[in-house]
């Protein structure tokens, strides 16, 4: 008796957010490490280029918000999706429904907070 494969999984919704977050991290992180971790401490940047007023001004502009929102929020989806499936790999399956709500709920909360904070800047 052949096994029947249904119903359709809803995983693509979170998987696409996870994939986008992975892409965002891969593009953003090396640049951030270079600027804040290497260039700034070594004094390679122009003076005051990373001061509070400048950075908040950049994030407060419409373009800054438009760029910062997906880059910040998608990383949460990426991390929580990886943690959720990591639990399964570590042998924690009982109550996956509960962990699912916890993991993706946190990502959703972080996304809303990101949007709220960027809106208030």
């Amino acid at each position: 008796m052949a096994k029947q494969y249904k119903p359709r999984s809803h995983e693509p919704v979170v998987w696409l957010l996870f994939a986008a977050g992975g892409m965002a991290a891969a593009m953003l992180m090396p640049a951030l490490v270079l600027i804040t971790g290497i260039a700034a401490p070594l004094g390679l940047l122009a003076e005051d280029s990373l001061n509070y007023e400048r950075v908040i001004g950049m994030l407060g502009s419409p373009v800054g918000k438009l760029v910062a929102f997906p880059f910040i929020s998608l990383l949460f989806w990426h991390a929580m999706h990886r943690i959720f499936h990591g639990l399964h790999d570590l042998g924690i399956h009982a109550g996956l429904g509960y962990y699912r709500v916890l993991c993706y709920g946190f990502a959703l909360l972080a996304t809303l907070l990101t949007a709220g904070i960027l809106f208030l800047i």
Binding site: A2, K3, Y5, K6, S9, E11, H93
Partner: protein
């Protein structure tokens, strides 16, 4: 088998469900030469030391896919694994993990073969091409799209290597999902819509967390992990495009 003048100890997990409560380990000492495979050693044991040892084998040249065993914990074809690489030994041989043991090194493969028909592993056509129209023509580029996935020999090493299959036997598993891709990628095939339900299901590509052991142990370089993850994108496209009625199918 060229017996050679070297010796190696082999530990084998023995189990007869009709007589034993649990598996036991037995030690055999076999002679070997530079070109002796693990399968050669098993055949030597069966012919000279213990005729009751059970194991599957056939072609001795890594194409029939029947002699897979756990060799020092790694799923391997015993005909393609050489004793010289394990000197001075001992080496430990068990039945493939994640399948019920029938006897000694022989496993029940139903967990794979029962699912096989659901992957529709044949060319599906809307309309069969008439004989008079001649053969299907395929360019080298079209052929290359399924060259690696068509190399699968159903040896099930990937299932023994896959922690997800070990935890959840309902998971379609690496070889079947690679097989789905093999036919979907074939320019002569028109059956993708029929195969999407298997890809789209929780027990399809979505049970894979990209551990990658399947591709690491594959003796034919099929790379099931890559095939599965390409199909996550296919499934994601299918999930959203079905609302636009331009998806590739796959009913609920």
């Amino acid at each position: 088998m060229n017996r050679g003048n070297r010796q190696i100890d082999i530990l084998i997990s023995r189990y007869d469900p009709e007589r034993d409560d649990q598996p036991r380990t037995e030690r055999y000492t076999v002679p070997y030469a530079h070109d002796s495979s693990v399968l050669d050693a098993l055949l030597y044991i069966k012919d000279h030391l213990d005729g009751s040892l059970s194991f599957r084998w056939s072609c001795r040249m890594a194409i029939c896919g029947s002699c897979g065993k756990m060799i020092n914990g790694v799923p391997s074809l015993s005909c393609k694994t050489f004793l010289r690489d394990y000197a001075p030994g001992p080496l430990y041989i068990e039945a493939l993990h994640h399948f019920p043991v029938i006897k000694d090194l022989v496993v029940d493969q139903a967990g794979f073969f029962d699912k096989l028909p659901e992957s529709r592993p044949w060319l599906i056509r809307d309309q069969e091409r008439a004989l008079a129209d001649g053969p299907h023509r395929q360019s080298p580029r079209q052929r290359a799209r399924f060259a690696s996935t068509s190399a699968c020999i159903n040896c099930l090493l990937c299932y023994a290597a896959c922690p997800q299959y070990g935890m959840k036997p309902d998971f379609a598993g690496p070889a079947l999902l690679a097989l789905v891709e093999r036919y979907n990628a074939d320019s002569r095939d028109q059956g993708k819509a029929e195969r999407m339900p298997m890809i789209n299901a929780e027990d399809g590509v979505w049970s894979c967390t990209l551990v990658g052991n399947c591709s690491a142990v594959c003796p034919k370089d099929v790379d099931p992990a890559a095939a599965i993850n390409r199909n996550k994108l296919e499934s994601a496209k299918d999930y959203f495009l079905r609302f636009l009625k331009i998806g590739s199918g796959g009913a609920e």
